[in-house]
Structure formats: structure tokens, C-alpha cells
């Protein structure tokens, strides 16, 4: 491989000649790709939130004209009043945008791309061009999904889970192009996800720097690595299912068509076989980020590093054998249902290990409540509430009562907003200096955190109560049911909280853009952290390091007795440290 190395070396030397397009648009630099993903996903996060605001307006004030609703076309909201079919598009697209294009891409697009090479001590990903292809197929996928809202008859409206036959038959759903574009977009999304995953896995296995052994890897890298394996094996199943759905829509195949011998429940099995590993794709990287933030904010080694790693692996493994708990009311054999119930309840064990370890890390630590730490602590608390409500729906008899109610809606928002999104916000504030070379404003960061935390709980906690009272999910007008009428004031309260929650994000938006240009210049290691990414300048240069660092210790050596500072970077060589022996580079 010497010739390849020499050419790559020559190419590196000319990198300052890269044009603007090579540097910032069709870039193969993992950091630029991560930042591209960041802007793309924050855009989709804002869009997804805007759709949620319309849902909340309709639920609080059904039948009244929505402010700004008169700007929507007649086919969506004549006179500003939302149509039922538009409402169904709203719930479908809110779920789709948030799950696929906001949370999943934020975690595995932004953090995996930006962090993996920086944290394992590599110049770039194993396959920079495949990485670029992964971003651009995600971009195409997002554009198709966004465009589907503006085609005749509107966007897909069968719910983000696309249950057949509603999604497969145009005469049932009433949307032809919208449904087909959803399937097409998900196929491109699958391609992007597979390309990204194989890149991350190869990079973590083969491109770690000298001394970076498996059990010296930061927990964020462990989590992203295991997540990449989940994505690699789960997403092709979704792609296969989406292809079958697309053929059902455009070629008239009969996979899910009971009139020709097909099986509608097959779609549910395929979708949730992907869908449950997907749930862990959406939370494991967030857990990894939170582990970094909590160790840093507590100035203590992470409590039980090895058990944290094994808990990640355990959650990932169990994630494959629990998909049936989404289908307890779909007409499954009760024996099969019981085994899914048991495997689901088992997931509480590794999840609890993680929660207790985070608390053990904070216990008697020298706590620093900087903005990332606040978000991380909120993650632990909110994830615990979401996890506890998860136990309710894991139990078949309880789930039959609360299935498809707002209790489920509350649960998913506690783990995905209270969990993943708090970790994402914390991570953005934490790594912003390494991405852009400037600090985000601390004071406004705290204002944003506390207001988000308050309004978030005010929005989603009451959903547990209305869910227990029987408020259905995806319901267009709750006031038509007598038993839901007493709940209507609570719906209004939730909606007002939701509007305030969305408004609070403007603070984050302004802080982000203001800090991008006017923020305080960041030092190399603003958070006094041990990770390798803090041993390179802020922002990290192309190629990350002139010469790759050598690692002598694990990532969480905070407050070591006798050390001169309360942190020891992974690449700092103490007199007692021995140099790692370099393994020869693999060739044929």
C-alpha cells in the first residue's frame, strides 16, 4: 500500500488549493460533513416543530382558524381551519421528520461524523468519499420528503409507521404522490444510513491511534459504534420493506394485500423489526454523549466504565428481540406476546445500570453546572421517567389499555425529547467550540435550558394523564367525544406550553447564530476535558493533527490524586507510562 500512501500524501500537501466547493459543499472532511449534517438536521428539527405547533393548535382549539393559517392553501386549511386530511399529514410528517431527519441524523449524522475520528485519533474517516455520498443521499432523501408536502393531494398521511393497507392503497389514503414519495425518500435514507454505518464501523475498528485500545475508547465512541452496527443491520430491512411498499403503490404487487393472499401484518413485523433497533439508534448515542458530559461536569471518572460498555451492548442485543411489543393489539399469538413482554422487561436491567452509573459518577463529585452538564442531568431525569412509563407498555395487559393513546405519545416524547434532544443540545454547546472555534453564550444557554426544561415538562407530562383517560393518538377533534370533554382544558394547557416551548427554541437559534459570528473565541480545551479532540486547535484543522497522538490512558481520569490538574488528557505521558507497541499496518 506504499504507492497509495504516497499519492494520498501528495494530495494532502495540496489541500490549501481546495476550492470553496471542495472545502464546504462537496467536502470529504468528516468535520465539514458533520457540520453539514448539523445545519440540515436543525432545519428539519425546526420544520418538524412547526408541524407539531399546528397539531397542538387543532387539539386545543378545534375548528377555529389558526393564526397564519390563511397563508396555507385551500387544500390544507380553507379559511385557516385545518382539514382532517391535512391534520393526518401533519402527524405523519411530524413523526417522519423528527425521527428520521432530526433525531437520527443529529445523532448518527452529526455526532458520529464529527466525533469518531477526533476521539479515536484519526486524520479522517476510513472512507471519506463514501461519507460524502452518505450526506448527499440523506440530503436528497430529505428534499424528497419535504417536497412531498407540496404535491397535489399533499403528503403521506398514514402515520409515520405507514401501516398497510392505508399506506398502500391510494383509494384508502387519498394521497398518491405523497405516499410514493415517502417510500422513495426512505429508500434513499436507508442508503445513506448504510453507507454511514459501514464507514463508522470500519473507522472505529481499524483507524484508532496508537494506544487507543478498545477499553480506552470514550463511551460516546462505544455508543456510536454499537449504534452503527444496529443501523447497518436494521436499516436494510426498512429499505426492503419500503421497496415492497413502493412496488405495492406503483406496480400493484400484493405483498400486503389480503384480497390476493398477502399479509398486512407482515408490514408491521418488517417495520418493527427495523423499528425497535431504531429506538436504540435514537437513544444510545445520546447516552454516550451524556456519559462524556457527566464525567466532565462531575470531575470524576465515569462510575463503572466496563459495565457502561456492556450495558450498551446488552441494550443493543436485546433491542433485536423485542419488536413484537409494538404489536400486542395486532392479533399476535398470546404466547409469542408473552415472550416479547419478558424480553422487553429485561431491557430495564442494562438501562438501570446506566442510570445508576451516571448517578454514581455525580455522587460526591466536584460538580460544575455548565450548560452541557445541565442538559446531561436533565437527560438522566427525563430518561428515567420515560423508561418507567416504558415498563407500563411493555406489560401486555396494561399496553392493551393504553395502546395508541396519549400515554404512548408522552412516553416517546420523554425518551426522544427529554432524552435524546437534551443530550443533543448539551452536545452542541459542548462541541460548538471545536466545530466553530467560538463559545456559545453561557447565560443565554442557561436561560434556554431552564425554559425548555419547564415548558417541556408542562407540555408532555399532562399527556400521561389524558392518555390514561383514553385520549387517542392522531385524533383530529377530541371535543366530539363526551368522555374527552373534561380533558379539553388540559389540552389547551398542553398546547400553550407547547407554543412557549417552541418559542423558547428561538433563544437557542439566536444564540447559535450570534455565537457563530460574535461568540467569545474558544481556547483549545475550554471544558478541561480529557478527550483527544481537545488536543487539537479550535476549530480543528483539516486532517485534525499534524502527527497522530499516542494514547496512554482511558478517557475519564479526572481528579486523580497527586496530579497537577484535575484532568489528565488521554495523550499526556506521565513518567510511569510505557509507549504502546505499534501493530504493523494491515496490507494484503
Amino acid at each position: 500500500m506504499t504507492t497509495v500512501a504516497a499519492t494520498a500524501h501528495a494530495a494532502h500537501a495540496q489541500h490549501d488549493d481546495r476550492s470553496f466547493i471542495q472545502k464546504y459543499i462537496f467536502s470529504t472532511d468528516h468535520k465539514i460533513i458533520g457540520i453539514q449534517f448539523l445545519f440540515l438536521t436543525l432545519f428539519f428539527l425546526a420544520i418538524g416543530g412547526l408541524l407539531a405547533m399546528q397539531i397542538r393548535w387543532q387539539l386545543a382549539y378545534p375548528g377555529t382558524p389558526m393564526p397564519g393559517g390563511r397563508f396555507l392553501p385551500e387544500t390544507m386549511a380553507p379559511g385557516g381551519v385545518l382539514l382532517p386530511e391535512y391534520y393526518l399529514q401533519l402527524v405523519t410528517m411530524h413523526g417522519t421528520f423528527m425521527i428520521f431527519f432530526a433525531i437520527m441524523l443529529l445523532l448518527v449524522g452529526v455526532y458520529a461524523n464529527f466525533l469518531i475520528p477526533l476521539k479515536i485519533g484519526a486524520h479522517d474517516m476510513a472512507f471519506p468519499r463514501i461519507n460524502m455520498a452518505s450526506f448527499w443521499s440523506a440530503f436528497v432523501s430529505g428534499i424528497i420528503m419535504l417536497a412531498s408536502m407540496f404535491v397535489p393531494e399533499g403528503a403521506a398521511r398514514a402515520g409515520w409507521t405507514m401501516y398497510v393497507p392505508l399506506s398502500a392503497r391510494h383509494d384508502y389514503s387519498g394521497a398518491e404522490f405523497g405516499q410514493e414519495m415517502w417510500s422513495l425518500s426512505i429508500i434513499f435514507f436507508g442508503l445513506s444510513s448504510i453507507l454511514g454505518s459501514l464507514n463508522y464501523i470500519t473507522t472505529v475498528i481499524n483507524n484508532r491511534c496508537a494506544g487507543m485500545t478498545w477499553f480506552r475508547l470514550p463511551l460516546s465512541v462505544w455508543a456510536l459504534f454499537i449504534t452503527a452496527i444496529l443501523g447497518l443491520l436494521a436499516v436494510p430491512v426498512l429499505a426492503g420493506a419500503a421497496i415492497m411498499l413502493l412496488f405495492e403503490q406503483i406496480l400493484g404487487t400484493h405483498f400486503f394485500d389480503p384480497s390476493a393472499g398477502g399479509q398486512p401484518i407482515l408490514w408491521q413485523h418488517l417495520f418493527w423489526f427495523f423499528g425497535h433497533p431504531e429506538v436504540y439508534i435514537l437513544i444510545l448515542p445520546a447516552m454516550g454523549i451524556v456519559s462524556e458530559l457527566i464525567a466532565n461536569g462531575s470531575r470524576k471518572p465515569i462510575f463503572g466504565y466496563h459495565s457502561m460498555v456492556f450495558a450498551i451492548c446488552g441494550i443493543a442485543f436485546l433491542g433485536w428481540i423485542v419488536w413484537g411489543h409494538h404489536m400486542f393489539v395486532s392479533g399476535m399469538n398470546p404466547t409469542l406476546g408473552s415472550s416479547f413482554m419478558v424480553s422487553t422487561l429485561l431491557i430495564a436491567v442494562p438501562s438501570a445500570i446506566k442510570v445508576f452509573n451516571w448517578m454514581g459518577t455525580m455522587w460526591r463529585g466536584n460538580l460544575r453546572f455548565h450548560v452541557p452538564m445541565l442538559h446531561a442531568v436533565a437527560f438522566v431525569a427525563m430518561f428515567t421517567i420515560g423508561g418507567l412509563s416504558g415498563i407500563f407498555m411493555a406489560a401486555t395487559p396494561v399496553d392493551m389499555f393504553i395502546h395508541d393513546t396519549y400515554f404512548i405519545v408522552a412516553h416517546i416524547h420523554y425518551v426522544l425529547f427529554g432524552g435524546s434532544l437534551f443530550a443533543i443540545f448539551g452536545g452542541i454547546v459542548f462541541w460548538f467550540p471545536k466545530m466553530f472555534g467560538r463559545m456559545m453564550n453561557e447565560g443565554w444557554g442557561k436561560v434556554h435550558f431552564w425554559l425548555t426544561f419547564i415548558f417541556y415538562n408542562a407540555t408532555f407530562f399532562p399527556m400521561h394523564i389524558i392518555g390514561m383517560a383514553g385520549h387517542m393518538r392522531r385524533l383530529y377533534d377530541p371535543t366530539i367525544y363526551d368522555f374527552l370533554k373534561p380533558m379539553q382544558p388540559m389540552n389547551v394547557f398542553i398546547s400553550i406550553s407547547a407554543f412557549l416551548l417552541y418559542g423558547t427554541q428561538i433563544i437557542f437559534f439566536l444564540n447559535f447564530w450570534w455565537s457563530l459570528f460574535k461568540g467569545k473565541k474558544a481556547p483549545q480545551n475550554p471544558w478541561s476535558d480529557n478527550g483527544l479532540e481537545w488536543t487539537t486547535p479550535s476549530p480543528a484543522p483539516h486532517g485534525n493533527w499534524e502527527t497522530l497522538p499516542t494514547v496512554y490512558r482511558g478517557p475519564y481520569e479526572f481528579s486523580v490524586p497527586g496530579a497537577s490538574e484535575d484532568f489528565i488528557p488521554q495523550n499526556k505521558k506521565l513518567p510511569t507510562d510505557r509507549d504502546p507497541v505499534m501493530a504493523p499496518a494491515a496490507s494484503h
Partner: protein
Amino acid sequence: MSQAMAGAMQPPFPAERGIEVYNKKLGMWIFLASEVMFFAALIGSYVILRFGAAGVWAKPGIVLSIQITAFNTFLLICSSVSMVKAYAAIQDGFQDKMKFWLLMTILGGATFVGIQVFEYIHLVEHGFTPAGVREGSHLAELVANGTLPAATMGLYGSTFFTMTGFHGFHVTCGVISMLYLYLFKALPGKYSPQDFSGIEVVGLYWHFVDLVWIILFTIVYLV
């Protein structure tokens, strides 16, 4: 970033530490793992639909021609052999032999796709489509006289075209990649006994596609 700094930078390849497999080959193995899951979704759905169907499945050999496809299967297996021959040739440094066997592999794969396209056209003319049996076609008569079961012909068409179609798409991708290797790597003489990663990596993919076909031929055409 200063020019001096960029110049002193080490290249991202080769791997610093890791397992004794170079990145491209490891990446291909990982990609094949996801391909296994993709085909498992399609084949698993076929198995569930076929055995869960209300009626019996059409007997083999009535709609699909076993003879032609058996020849096609033989061709694809031969192309896997010729891929190995190309790989062995470049390991020993025989450039011309490598080019010859690589070209043979490309021809084998392209012929396979050609025969498959011919088969598809023939099937659609006879009334076999992804949506089932077309009204008023030759096959519709066989359904009417009871030679073919009416209840499962729709599923038969859906699963047949989806599975073999996606396999054909994979073969086409393989042929295109090998053509690229042939024209831009093998012909300019860029391979040597020290560096033949392209042949090895695409070879892995090619054997995988071949293996999938052996499974598909068995479960779609023979049983």
C-alpha cells in the same frame, strides 16, 4: 491552516491499529452484512407469504423456464470461478491473464443480466407481471383451466419480480464496477502483486451476489 502544517500531515490510510484486514476489504465485509439483512427481508417475506398463503403455490416449471435459468445459474457460477482466476493471476503477477479473466467475468455477468431481461420480456408477454396474471393472456388460460392456482398467482408475481429484480440490479452494479476496474485500473496496469485491492474487494461482492442467486434459484425456480 498553514501550508507547512498540511504538508507534514500523515495520510489517513493505512490503518494505525486494528485488525489484520485493510480498510476497503473490512468495509466490504461490513457492507455485505447489511446486504444479507436486505435479502433476508425480501426472502423472509417470500417464505412467510408462500407458506402462509391460503392456497397452494404454482408447481415449478410451468411459468418459469428451469432450463434457461439453470444455464444462467451455471454461467454466474462460472463467472465466480473466473473472478478467482483473475485474483490468482494478479497475485502471481500475470497482468495479461488477470485482464483476460476479469473480462471473462464481466462478460459472464453481462450475459446473465441479458438473459434475465430476455426472460422478463418473455414472461410479461405471456401475462406474468408483478401484479399477477394479466387478463386475456396465455397464463390466464392456464389459470382458468386449473393448471395454475388462481389464489396465489398475485403473490407469485410480486415476490418473483422483486427478488430476482433486486438480484439483477446487484449483478448490474457488479458488472459496472468490474468494467470500471477493467478500464481504469487493469488496462493502465495499476495492479501489481502488492496492490490488487480492487479485484479482491469487488470479488468478495461478486461471490456474495453469486451465493444469493444460488439460494434464489433454488427457492424460486426449483421448489
